[in-house]
Amino acid sequence: MRGLLKRNEFYVSLTILALCFLIQSKSGQFFTGNNLIDLARSMIIPGILCMGVLIEIISGGIDVSFPAIAMLSMFSTVKLLLYVDYKGPVIVAFIIAGLIGLVLGLINGGLIAFLKLPTLIITLGTGSIYLGFMQAVLKSRVISVLPEPISKLSKSYLFTAHNKELGISSSLPSVFILLIVTVVLVYFILNRTMLGRGIYALGGDIIACERAGFNVARLQYFIYGFMGGLAGVAGMTRTVLTGSCQPTTLIGFELTCIAAVILGGTRITGGHGTVKGALLGALLITMVSNSLILLGVPTYWSKFVTGIIIIIGTGASAYQILRQKRKLNASVFED
């Protein structure tokens, strides 16, 4: 049992490596600069969101409303900035989106702390409300002309790699920095702050958590508020990456992120999970949908392959646990 968590990350890493080499051998294009940059670029949104999902699942909850929060924050901010014809620093866009997301997340946190019902159900409700609000009340639609600062950012890159063979080049968008910042921040929170330990404690045993003196309600507010803020930022980032505001872009993404985090060794029951694992899980899932084409597999198989990976990934550790339960403990013959 001890090495189970380690083993999970190990298997995922192994799978990733295997996939890398498979793709490389088939197409020779995997370890090229441009493919790696594409991969990194595709990791930005899943990576940021998975960090928030990681925190939620460690605490023992599940949130399915964050794509709606992301889209709603993104859309409202863009509309707002267009309305005032904003031309200032682009960071303000992220701040506004983040704040909107934060508020929406805090509503989640409040309901969860107050109602004490399964988080899945509550976020199902709020997610529907946020989505419906955006589509019905705000009458969301695709906005292709973005405020100037945002469209400027979407053309800003850190560096570029050229692929001489294929004659294409890929550039790493500047917003990649956001992913790095998020990962470092979440790592720090989870491993270096009492807040983070409280999140683990909450996922481990909620009664003991209360008894120990943690303020459970405050923890819930943070967990869901933080996710909301991240979702807002991720939504804005999405707009920057695609160069347009598409308010239906992340629908259904919640299940993908949850699957990625679970794949990385986070237990759905709570209390366990690491940043490294979640990133590996996200990487694996991203690779599958991105790089299948390099294997000569048509893109429409990617969902299927993802399904197989999820089943194998969750099945391996589940089966171990099942077999463990069927055996007796070894303590009987001691005296």
Partner: protein
């Protein structure tokens, strides 16, 4: 003034129920005091009042000589009172070091975790009682005994002066209990007082100098443990001398109802062979870890034996699952009725029918609810089950009545052999007596074979005509109840001279 805790005249009422009535308790510095009492005696309530979780309705609380009008949990902790609950309240997913140091880190109001500090605190605490556990190991991988030690270390971190332990030995093996007692003695040497809640007399004797018994929310007695013996203790706890007669086997048959031969299961038990005849009640006992529970579960098909044979009325049978067991007429009343025997949220009606539901159908194959209702009526009368509406969730019944329903559920399946594991745990004295009588009646009137697996020595002694003692996975002794004393039985179980046995020897002038 060496009284660390003195409560006088404490009363507490919960929604119309008087949980505590004018109780007193005094604990001196460095004293090990045992608080004993059955379910509903009020001992849990008093602990919660002492630790500030509940507020007493009336009475005085003095800690270290200081009187507290309104004691808060924080006050109690500041005064050095630490409670270790039965469920231990530790975090299985966090490391040993973190569990030990967590509370103090929280109270220091630090935002950033200082891992070095945590390690230091944990090591210091473990040194105090002379143990060493791997600091980085996740607690879920450790044994219950180790978890308890961690809980004690955690209590010590905040300079505990009085540690209250709520039934700490329930899940410990004999060896682990001895280790725990060694540590408690060490704590005593360091001036820490211990309030030890337990209902096991042998423990009361072994570890405490003084004891207090509660019954129905009132003091019964406080005395030094040297002044009490077994019978007196039972009288204090129950308030009556429940003299149960010995159950004597009426066996006349040659052929056993049930027979096992050389049954073995890795990590469970080895070479178990026994028979049970019509008219007798077989008892299987032993300490935790002796294999008695594993044997019970195996006979019911939950952990099928790897080797050996099982015979029912002379016919060889295979039990690979509970379904096999039931098909062959074996029923199992489990140890933990809340998680294993009952569907708390479902109605009493459904609970009674669930094991026999496949037979309770009409000719067209649909569930025959009328038949279920008449079964419920029948068992309600036979077992004197006190219940409300049959559609109310079974969680509304008392422990004793719930256990009766579980028994009825199995009787509905017309079993040939009934295995009961700890049948009267958490059952009040009256219902316990009823249950024993009923089981005897079953054996005498219906020829059902009954095996009782229990560590409640009086229960086994009085109700089982023949008793098997297990140790380390094997059967080490077989005795007839009328030919053994309770004290001898106890010695057989623990395989050492117990305090009770010693006392017996003293009495006998040996």
């Amino acid at each position: 003034m060496s009284e660390i805790l003195k409560v006088t005249g404490i009363s507490k009422n919960f929604g119309g129920v008087q949980a505590l009535k004018n109780v007193n308790l005094t604990i001196h510095k460095g004293e090990i005091h045992c608080l004993a009492g059955g379910n509903g005696s009020g001992k849990s309530t008093l602990i919660k009042i002492i630790s500030g979780v509940y507020k007493a309705d009336s009475g005085k609380i003095e800690i270290n000589g200081k009187e507290y009008r309104k004691l808060t949990p924080m006050d109690a902790i500041m005064e050095g009172i630490q409670v270790i609950y039965q469920d231990l309240s530790i975090f299985p997913n966090l490391s040993v070091a973190e569990n030990i140091a967590l509370n103090s880190e929280l109270y220091s109001k630090r935002k950033i975790v200082n891992w070095k500090n945590i390690k230091k605190i944990a090591e210091e605490s473990m040194n105090k009682i002379g143990i060493s556990l791997p600091l980085k190991e996740k607690v879920e991988n450790l044994s219950v005994a180790d978890k308890q030690l961690i809980a004690i270390c955690r209590a010590l971190v905040s300079n505990a002066k009085l540690i209250i332990m709520d039934e700490p030995t329930t899940a410990l093996t004999r060896k682990e209990i001895k280790k725990l007692f060694e540590i408690i003695k060490k704590l005593q040497q360091q001036g820490v007082s211990i309030l030890f809640v337990s209902h096991k007399l042998d423990e009361v004797f072994e570890i405490s100098e003084k004891f207090t018994v509660f019954r129905n929310g009132e003091n019964v007695i406080t005395d030094s443990t040297v002044n009490v013996d077994y019978d007196k203790f039972v009288f204090y706890m129950t308030g009556r001398k429940i003299e149960e007669d010995f159950f004597i086997s009426s066996n006349k048959e040659e052929q056993p109802i049930f027979k096992v031969e050389n049954l073995s299961l890795t990590n469970g038990f080895k070479d178990i062979s026994f028979e049970i005849y019509k008219g007798e009640i077989l008892g299987i006992t032993g300490l935790l870890g002796s294999g008695r529970t594993e044997l019970a579960l195996s006979l019911f098909g939950l952990f099928p034996a790897e080797q050996g044979d099982i015979y029912l009325n002379g016919e060889k049978i295979r039990i690979r699952s509970p379904i096999d067991a039931i098909k062959n007429g074996i029923g199992y009343v489990p140890e933990d009725r809340l998680t294993e025997g009952l569907f708390l949220a479902q109605s009493t009606r459904k609970n009674i029918a669930v094991s026999n539901i496949d037979s309770m159908v009409k000719s067209n194959g649909t569930v025959d609810f009328d038949r279920i209702d008449s079964a419920l009526e029948k068992w309600k009368n036979e077992l004197s089950i006190i219940m409300g509406d049959k559609d109310d969730p079974i969680s509304t019944l008392s422990g004793g009545n719930q256990q009766k329903v579980v028994l009825a559920k199995w009787l509905e399946t017309n079993p040939k052999l009934l295995i009961l594991n700890g049948p009267t745990v958490g059952v009040d004295v009256g219902a316990k007596f009823d249950l024993h009588n009923y089981l005897r009646g079953l054996v005498e009137n219906y020829g059902i074979g009954i095996i009782i697996i229990s560590d409640d020595i009086p229960e086994i002694h009085k109700n089982c005509s023949r008793i098997l003692v297990m140790r380390k996975g094997r059967i080490c002794s077989e005795v007839i109840n009328t030919h053994t004393t309770e004290k001898d039985l106890f010695s057989l179980i623990v395989n050492e001279e117990s305090f009770i046995a010693k006392e017996g020897q003293e009495e006998a002038g040996i």
